[in-house]
Structures are given as structure tokens and as C-alpha cells.
């Protein structure tokens, strides 16, 4: 095995082009488990932790350009205003030690349907900046996940950053697991209200082969909120609309039975989380952002 240690982005791309099978390693919280258990024996490890820019972010007017290797702990500590949904999701990842190392770039690289960043990214709206010696590609996160633990990256590409829309309204995240810490999601749900465009976006984790949006639910709810003049008046979401939203979210799932939960349970739980996160987020919208953010 070789251990490749680029100190700059261009050097990393050149190494990846030269060794397309090299396995990038950032926080190592997925990669090292696979190596320790002999599930993976790559020819080369490509260490990304020496590339300073990957650990930084820039806050623009519309979006935050989050370096691929910013650990969750930094997102929780420093980006909760701009990226509240992602910060809430990050809060539920593993343990303090895991959050000190694990990164969104690694979550995207692993592309597990259970990755907690995905529902938050889908709901907020995000674009993955992938680079190679051939140039830069901007991949909308909706089309980034291509199958179970598969993503849209070409063998010579690396994730440089994720451009995530800054919150223009309340965002929520909810995750079902057997306890509070160190839990891989049975299923998860992210929701973002976008008052500026009067739209709602969602993300579902662990209830389909890839993370998915509940597009029909989003469109239904946006229409119902418009019709009820809810955005203007701050009126409560009509209970029948909230119910329908939950049902449509549930319908967006195509889950499997596995050790963590049955398909039927996941469908039901996603509906419950959809209704709850809508409740929380709408309450916050009505109380003008003074609502306390919660996560369960």
C-alpha cells in the first residue's frame, strides 16, 4: 500500500488522476473501519487532511461553500445560523470523537443511504463541487446519489466543497434510532421552509436505496400553504394538509426490511417525522424565528 500525502488541491487531483483506484481518506471514520476489518485493502490511501483549504468555508450571500473536510464539530459550533438543518443533523452523528473527525465530504463519498448529512443537504438545496485534472463539475445533490453507497463521482474526481443554500427560513431534522448517541439511523427526515420562494424542501434518509426528496409532498404542501395564505398570515398549517403531507412523504419511501427496522416501520416513521418537523418548523416560522430548535 502507498500513503499519498498531497499538501495542495492541484497535487491531490494529479495523484488521483495517476492512481484512479486510490481511496481518499479525510476523517477516516468510514475508511479506517473498513481497513481495520479487512473489508478493504486499497493500493493507495490518498490523505486529504493536509490540504488546508478543504477544512475552511466561505459564507456568501446565497450559499455557504463548505470545504469537503470540515468536521461536523465545526459545523455544529460555527455554522448553525447559516446551515441550521445540517448543524442539527451533524449533532446526531456518532459521538463527540466521531464528530471531531467525520466530514460532509466523507458522508458524500460513502453515500450511505443512512448518512445523516444527506437529508439536510437535500432539504436545504446543495450542489457538490467535484474536481479532477479535467476540470470542475457542479453536481446538484439531488443527482449525486446514484445507488446504494454509490455516487456520481468519476474515478479521477474528488469532492472539493459543497455549496449549500443559506437558510432563508426554519429548518429541521429528525432521526429515529435506538438511543441518543452512536446511532446509525433507522430512518431520518430533513425539512426546510423556503419563505423567499414559498417552497418547502425535504430529504429522507435510510428509507430508499439512496437518500431521496419527497417531491410530491413538497409540491402539495407548497400549494396548500399558498392556498391558505399561510405564508402571509402565519396561520397554522391546516391539519388535513399536514396529514396529507405526512402521507405523501411516507409514500416517497421505498424501504427494505433489515436488522434496524422493517419497511413498514420505516414508512410509518417517516410520515410521523414529516408531520413533526413541519410542526416545529412552522411554529418557528410563525414566531419569527424565536422558536427553539429541537431535534428528536
Amino acid at each position: 500500500m502507498d500513503f499519498l500525502r498531497p499538501t495542495g488541491w492541484e497535487e491531490a487531483l494529479a495523484l488521483k488522476a495517476e492512481h484512479p483506484t486510490a481511496v481518499p481518506i479525510a476523517g477516516g471514520t468510514d475508511v479506517m473501519v473498513e481497513i481495520n476489518f479487512d473489508h478493504r485493502r486499497p493500493q493507495q490511501l490518498l490523505d486529504l487532511t493536509r490540504i488546508g483549504e478543504l477544512r475552511t468555508w466561505e459564507t456568501g450571500e446565497e450559499s455557504v461553500r463548505l470545504g469537503a473536510a470540515v468536521p461536523y464539530a465545526r459545523i455544529i459550533g460555527q455554522l448553525r445560523t447559516e446551515l441550521p438543518g445540517l448543524a442539527l443533523a451533524a449533532r446526531t452523528v456518532g459521538s463527540p470523537q466521531i464528530r471531531n473527525r467525520g466530514t460532509v465530504g466523507g458522508n458524500l463519498g460513502a453515500a450511505s443511504p443512512a448518512g445523516d448529512a444527506h437529508p439536510a443537504l437535500l432539504a436545504a438545496g446543495a450542489v457538490v463541487e467535484a474536481g479532477s485534472v479535467r476540470g470542475t463539475r457542479m453536481i446538484p445533490v439531488d443527482s449525486f446519489y446514484t445507488g446504494v453507497k454509490r455516487n456520481a463521482l468519476a474515478p479521477d474526481e474528488l469532492i472539493r466543497a459543497v455549496h449549500i443554500q443559506r437558510a432563508d427560513g426554519p429548518q429541521q431534522f429528525s432521526k429515529v434510532g435506538t438511543r441518543n448517541a452512536m446511532v446509525i439511523a433507522v430512518c431520518a427526515f430533513g425539512l426546510a421552509l423556503h419563505p423567499r420562494t414559498r417552497t418547502v424542501r425535504t430529504g429522507i434518509g435510510s428509507a430508499a436505496p439512496t437518500p431521496v426528496r419527497a417531491v410530491a409532498a413538497e409540491e402539495f404542501l407548497a400549494a396548500a400553504l399558498e392556498e391558505g395564505r399561510c405564508w402571509d398570515t402565519g396561520r397554522p398549517v391546516p391539519p388535513s394538509a399536514a396529514r396529507q403531507f405526512a402521507e405523501l412523504a411516507s409514500g416517497a419511501c421505498s424501504p427494505i426490511d433489515d436488522v434496524r427496522g422493517s419497511a413498514a416501520y420505516r414508512r410509518r416513521a417517516v410520515g410521523v417525522m414529516a408531520r413533526r418537523t413541519l410542526d416545529w418548523a412552522w411554529h418557528e416560522y410563525r414566531t419569527d424565528g424565536d422558536g427553539v430548535q429541537q431535534c428528536a
Binding site: 500500500m1 502507498d2 500513503f3 500525502r5 481518506i25 476523517g27 477516516g28 471514520t29 475508511v31 479506517m32 473501519v33 481497513i35 481495520n36 476489518f37 485493502r41 486499497p42 490511501l45 490523505d47 487532511t49 464539530a73 456518532g94 459521538s95 463527540p96 470523537q97 466521531i98 471531531n100 473527525r101 441518543n180 448517541a181 452512536m182
Partner: protein, 161 residues
């Protein structure tokens, strides 16, 4: 490959390191520092916790090469004086009866020490949160929580007095 880094304030060099090896393996098997424990090798138990550039991490999930040029503090480095003198959290763990088989203890000491360095008077919620990545199969945790409270109380009393 060769890895150079600082461990508990001393420059160290490890040779013949396999590229897929973990920092934990290097510490235990190459540098003779068996304090950090190996229980799961998958980040679940926290018994291998060390500080890497000041931040608590699972040493089993850090590739040895990622430690190049970095600073690592292990449980062996907590007692500043060496020579039998214990760090305050270590003494508190003993006094509170927080150690049974002791396998989880090194990791818990590192996270507890880190917590108190940042939050000298932690709430119970702070303590539970800081310790949430560390498993203990013996104590039922109550005495461990007592130990952290005791260390915090002693540090507070020390400062007032």
C-alpha cells in the same frame, strides 16, 4: 513507512509502519504506549481516545500517516509530573470508585480531562454529552459521572482557596 510525530510532548519516530495501520496500533505496538486500549477498532467504544492536535479522537480511526507532524496526547501524558503523581481526573476516578476492570478508563480519562479543560464547571448534561462516545461494561456509569463531578468540584475549590 516512517512516521514522525510528537507524543506527550516528546518527538517520536516509528519505523516500518504499514500504510493502512492505525495510530492506535503505532502507539501500542511500536512506541510501547499501551495505555490507549483496543476494544473495537471501529470507533464505537472510545477506549482508544487520544488528543490529536488538542482534539479528542478515536486513535483506531486515524491512519498512522495522518499523524505525521502532529501532536498526540495519550492517557500516559495526562499526569504532567510523571513520577507517580496523578492528574486531578485520575485521582478523582480512583477516589470515586469509577474504575472496575479499567479497560474503558484511559479513554474516559482523556475525554473527561478535555471536558474540564474547556468547561471547568460542567452541567450533568455536559458531562453525559462529553462521555457519550465511551462505553463501560462494568460500572453502570454512575461512579464515572461522580468522578467527573468530583474533579470539577476540587478544581473549583482549589481556585477559590
Amino acid at each position: 513507512m516512517r512516521v514522525n510525530f510528537t507524543v506527550n510532548g516528546r518527538p517520536q519516530q516509528a519505523d516500518d509502519v504499514w500504510e493502512g495501520e492505525s495510530l492506535l496500533y503505532v502507539l501500542r505496538e511500536r512506541l510501547g504506549l499501551p495505555g490507549s486500549k483496543n476494544a473495537c477498532e471501529q470507533g464505537e467504544c472510545g477506549s482508544c481516545t487520544v488528543r490529536l492536535d488538542g482534539v479528542p479522537v478515536c486513535a483506531c480511526l486515524v491512519a498512522a500517516g495522518q499523524a505525521e507532524g502532529r501532536e498526540v496526547v495519550t492517557v500516559e501524558g495526562l499526569a504532567a509530573g510523571g513520577q507517580g503523581e496523578l492528574a486531578p481526573v485520575q485521582q478523582a476516578f480512583i477516589d470515586a470508585g469509577a474504575v472496575q476492570c479499567g479497560f474503558c478508563t484511559p479513554g474516559l480519562l482523556v475525554v473527561a480531562d478535555d471536558l474540564l479543560a474547556h468547561t471547568p464547571q460542567p452541567s450533568d448534561a455536559d458531562i453525559r454529552e462529553a462521555l457519550s462516545g465511551n462505553l463501560c461494561r462494568c460500572t453502570g456509569y454512575e461512579k464515572i459521572l461522580d468522578a467527573v463531578r468530583l474533579a470539577a468540584a476540587r478544581a473549583g475549590a482549589g481556585q477559590e482557596g
